[in-house]
Symmetry: C2
Subunit: 513 residues, 2 copies
């Protein structure tokens, strides 16, 4: 007979999948903001065995019910990369174009000329002209609107200095959806392995688990600024082979998420060579969100072409998102993947997966094309665009620097420099006494630390155990996204908390004569 | 050693999955519109063994290269439910709100008052007030923005007369994404079966195949206006059990897609009772897109509550989309599912799957809330909204009627009345000679007919074999979406083609004395 639905009869791959950032402390903190109605089943009831979430919810509720009763006035979400939730403002030009494309009859009105910049009006007209009937309410080709893919290909060509082809672009609802599509394509069973960096944000671990494959970790070298080492790749590949795991692809995240390092071109050359030698697909998660001046971004496609390899030599997928960097448009769900080096029959299968999802949302598609084709010198919006973009990037650089220095000034902390992305991933050398206290509380030491930090300061960070780390080391991931006026207090509170924590847990130095 | 990527080493579930509407003739017809550049690998090269697609592409190319050289001037896409691609206009109020939410600084400008309706301005302000910081560029809770879910719950409560709860609403990027999430949740292996109507649009077949489950078909009774019969459900359930298949859920599509029938309330009562008795989850794909006056929509949740069942008695998921009906906003990818009767631990798993996708796009979320809360009498936009909506629904009714009559007037065709959705699914009784000609051409008879129709008239329909049909019967699915001014020519060309087809293939009547 049919069985009723319960956790025991669900897809075990779903049960196995963990999603540290949004599945645990982070998102439930955010949810509790919204679960304010007293009726219904509260989030608290649902998670009574999950202390971290309960803590955030309790604190949030207390802040609402009894303002001033806690040593802080707000929960500060330094856990997820969601720039606009921290007050980062959208690029005006992008939003002008989106508004006009959503309501094209504005284009015929006189008032529009005073409300919108001339290049936004022109841009919207050009985009609508590439959509049959200008119908942004219609499904597009499952791969995305051809005119927008042309624009993206043109943007990639300008960026790399090597030609890109619109046929290689698949517009996706954020980079995550592209990653899921590719994992669905490649993973047959638990013997199909994907080499992934550790630490990494848990998109890949979640997606690989959902599709039933094997995540084969390679550790970034923290002592060398989170460098990617070919010797480590070779070691992990060999280990995986010895366990009968067939490595299908190598994931590279550049700039590193959660670590912020940017790969050197030499490192990129070596990675490409490794993939070529081992016959691996290179999955490059590479959103150009670098905020330091002295480091430049090179796409893997550029590197591959510079090495003289052609389309036929190496399968490469480059994932791009409109959610990151100076645009930070997470909620628009815009992104693309550029697929090169795959045979036509394999591309047909990718197209089929895209077809099953019908198409990605058209506003997200438009935004993905805009971030690859922002205003140029001479355009009316160029000055404001450049000011907005530079303002955000320079501020990110200042915030990263201030937080990095703050962590490095704390006893037991070491923190590498971030050059891009939106996070720091400092290591914390916890005293033995703290580790034992964590054990007694049945928590990982970094989770224990993060929880105490939250309770004392309202600052939410993600314990390194959510991202993977070298066993026996402990980290936290802290975003650099709180707006600048909040950084001094954040640092002050962090420092005060940490000093008190260390005072409580510092190992006693025993004089041995 | 690592293997390189080819069709032989991809996920076999992907290879097995078929997606008739967008994977084959339909979408490639649309793609060919866009693959006009002579360079690169053409779609033709990729599909040289797929005659239907090649035909559309050849015709499309010929229309572009030599206008006037074919007996028709355009390809008429009666294959997919994409209203705006046929010129259906969006509801003005919805687009006003979306534009304002995309570019909120418009709200502070004087000119905005003359460009936008007062209730759209108010609506946008209210929506932005429910989003922390008004940030439509931020990720939301993975379940969707709480204020929008409140609005949807309120809309459902008004619709059904029974309370709905925002905690039960999961906003999804169109109904399809919700369906994929649930299939991912439920399907463990090929012994997990989902009862699905036949004919049905191929979302369910594709999703079940991708997740490795078993589609267990139940046939709608064409002779009774595509009625759903409990005896057929019982028969198929028993057959499945005898094969060791565990039926997890029953999919009901109401109004039927591709058949357009609306279930009677008595039928709905019987379906609920069947699910309750057999312990099945009821998956109700129920977008209220009815266009005839004498038929009314009842959600399954309303029926379940009318029967006196509570939340605890029956697991139900109701899928809703902004892509259908009078709004037809396919490209916005907005939708939701309302989940009732599931335990907290199971809901947590659903939440986890949603988390892996981060969140659905915010414009789609806003639109999903708007379609459940359109302008009300007294609002400035009410009159225009009602006129737009009624105009579309009345026109759909006229188009459905005209096409239904046209099919029923053709020799060998029988066509049931459509009461909702966007399609007709007429049966064609093909002459033996045509069936043999199809066999010689290595095609299904209905695919053969559809191809000839395309070649002669430019009209694209989907052969019934793409949706499933009682073996030995043949159908085509034809959308009713071409705008009204195109319907007379469509009917004229269809009739002329069919008469010529029958003249060629009609079986000779042999006098037997």
């Amino acid at each position: 007979m049919a069985t009723s639905v319960n956790v025991e009869n669900l897809n075990p791959k779903v049960l196995k999948c963990q999603y540290a950032l949004r599945g645990e402390i982070a998102i439930h903190a955010q949810r509790s903001l919204q679960f304010s109605s007293p009726g219904g089943q509260s989030s608290a009831e649902k998670h009574e065995d999950e202390d971290q979430e309960l803590t955030v919810e309790r604190l949030q509720q207390q802040l609402q019910a009894e303002p001033g009763s806690l040593p802080f006035d707000e929960i500060l979400y330094c856990n997820i990369g969601n720039p606009h939730s921290h007050g980062q403002q959208p690029v005006t030009f992008f939003r002008e174009v989106l508004a006009l494309c959503n309501h094209p009859c504005l284009l015929d009105k006189d008032e529009t000329k005073s409300l919108f910049s001339a290049d936004a009006i022109l841009g919207a007209r050009q985009i609508l002209a590439t959509i049959p009937g200008g119908a942004t309410g219609a499904y597009s080709d499952s791969q995305g609107i051809k005119g927008l893919r042309d624009a993206i290909a043109s943007g990639i060509t300008s960026r790399d200095g090597f030609p890109a082809n619109a046929d290689d672009i698949f517009l996706t609802g954020g980079a995550s959806l592209g990653v899921h599509m590719i994992m669905q394509l490649l993973i047959r069973n638990e013997k199909d392995g994907i080499l992934c960096p550790v630490p990494q944000y848990p998109l890949y671990s979640a997606s690989i688990a959902l599709h039933g494959g094997a995540l084969v970790p390679y550790y970034l070298n923290e002592s060398k600024g989170w460098a990617m080492e070919i010797s480590e790749l070779k070691k992990q590949l060999k280990d995986a082979h010895s366990k009968g795991i067939d490595i299908r692809a190598l994931v590279v995240i550049n700039p590193g998420n959660s670590t912020g390092q940017v790969l050197s071109e030499d490192n990129q050359y070596a990675i490409v060579k490794f993939c070529k030698t081992e016959g691996l697909i290179l999955l490059a998660d590479e959103v150009n969100n670098i905020f330091v001046d002295n480091v430049k971004f090179s796409s893997f496609k550029k590197i591959i072409r510079l090495m003289g390899y052609s389309e036929d030599d190496l399968p490469l997928i480059s994932f791009q998102s409109a959610s990151k960097g100076s645009y930070g448009e997470c909620g628009k769900r815009g992104g693309y993947m550029e697929i090169t080096g795959f045979s036509a029959p394999v591309r047909e299968q990718i197209y089929k997966i895209a077809s099953v999802n019908l198409c990605s949302n058209i506003s997200g598609q438009i935004l993905a094309s805009l971030v690859m084709n922002p205003p140029k010198p001479g355009d009316e919006s160029y000055a404001s665009y450049k000011a907005e973009k530079d303002g955000i990037l320079q501020s990110l650089a200042r915030r990263a620097k201030a937080l990095e220095a703050a962590f490095n000034n704390l006893e037991g902390f070491t923190c590498n420099q971030a050059e891009g992305a939106m996070y720091l991933f400092p290591r914390i050398h916890l005293p033995q006494k703290a580790i034992e206290a964590a054990k007694a509380a049945k928590k990982a030491p970094d989770a224990f630390y993060a929880l105490r930090l939250l309770e004392s300061t309202g600052i939410v960070v993600v314990p390194g155990s959510g991202f993977g780390q070298v066993p026996g080391t402990w980290h936290i991931r802290c975003s650099i996204l709180p707006q600048e006026d909040k950084i001094p207090a954040l640092i002050y509170n962090l420092k005060a908390f940490h000093e008190a924590f260390m005072a409580k847990y510092r190992d006693q130095i025993v004089d041995t004569v």
